[in-house]
Symmetry: C2
Subunit: 230 residues, 2 copies
Amino acid sequence: MSSNPKPEPATVKLAPKAVVGRVCLYLRQLELLHGQGEITISSAELGAPLSIKNAQVRKDLAYFGQFGHPGIGYQIDDLIGALRHVLGVDHEWPLALVGFGNLGRALLGYHGFRSRGFKIVAIFDADPAKIGRKLDRLVIEPLESLLQVVAARQITLALLCVPAEVAQSVADRLVAAGIVGIFNFAPTPIHLPEHVSLIGVDLGAQLENLAYKVEKSRELAPGASQASSY
Amino acid sequence: MSSNPKPEPATVKLAPKAVVGRVCLYLRQLELLHGQGEITISSAELGAPLSIKNAQVRKDLAYFGQFGHPGIGYQIDDLIGALRHVLGVDHEWPLALVGFGNLGRALLGYHGFRSRGFKIVAIFDADPAKIGRKLDRLVIEPLESLLQVVAARQITLALLCVPAEVAQSVADRLVAAGIVGIFNFAPTPIHLPEHVSLIGVDLGAQLENLAYKVEKSRELAPGASQASSY
DNA sequence: TAGATTGTTAATCGATTAACAATC
DNA sequence: TAGATTGTTAATCGATTAACAATC
């Protein structure tokens, strides 16, 4: 433990969503660079491949502390450690996968989760025909077991991949079982109590956004659009 | 040669990303209400289930025209038609599915696309073991066929579900084949020429966002977080 | 008319960018 | 020291919210 300036003088400034989103990208980029043997990096170099300006990078990082060295830049391994801690990905997260349809099946095998400490430790489905099926080391369980399994395996987060019609009611049951964060893939908004966090991705809506962009750039003229990177 | 530095003086206000995102939600909500036999709706009623304020709803819609009637509200079927046109979902969009791994397989069966006029009409993969396999009415084809198939089936959009390492190079080939919009699922930013539109969803990064929220609300106190709806 | 609700303007709020003294 | 780069403040930009005359 070093001589840290001021740990937290009641300044619980929770970072804006946009900032957190970008910090995730910085972390991934940093890990890539670390793997390539890089030692330090400047805000400009870090932002460039992500199309993010140097001032933005510095401001984002400054939300969480002072990590840089004037004239030098950022120590990559130190920054990786700091950002992992900030984002809460410096430890494992046991996940429940709820709804084992097409999308649920894909998420079970999705590498982007596992590589970040997110580990699916339970699968639930309402369909009696699916219950009992074995996958990997897991068995598909009925929603009736939610309460017991969530407690036993200390599950905190859930991937919700059920049909839109039942998304809200299943979400309610997840909350009742003690889940504190839900990643909603159902194409419908759901409402949760204040203490439960929520992220939603509506793939259909996203694709409509893309259609709009294309339609619009066609209108504007053959060859004028705004490019962007994600 | 082209004598237009600025094509349209007044009316080419391309709506901000956030506005388009919300309009997609309005459209879905309106279709739901239409199915329930509702005829008219006010901005307040439309926004409520989405946790969006009435002023915001009116402002968003006003980007695209005047659809409402003072004292009455909006005619649901008229508004649906208008928004579909604005978003470009009043006609079919032939899609290419590129990369037939876990996620690609899930997207092939994903109902949220088909119900909006998005229709997968070609599947590509680089793996010789997969090429030739039949699914639904489609055959998995090699990337070498891209140019020919995209032209023949008039494909404009692509779902990119390949590993991060090859995402950029495959995207380049898609662009070369004439694709004008890419939905990138690979967990890496890609860069495209100006005339090609891009939407990216990084599921791993999203899950990290959720982890951050949970971590943060734990710090703040047991029972204080910001709820939101998607 | 009285009540409801729009589209739009003005006020507020937040996020991005630029600029620069401080630091290595 | 000279050059590089930080963290932070100030300026700019954009998005959300409130307020209200106009309209049905």
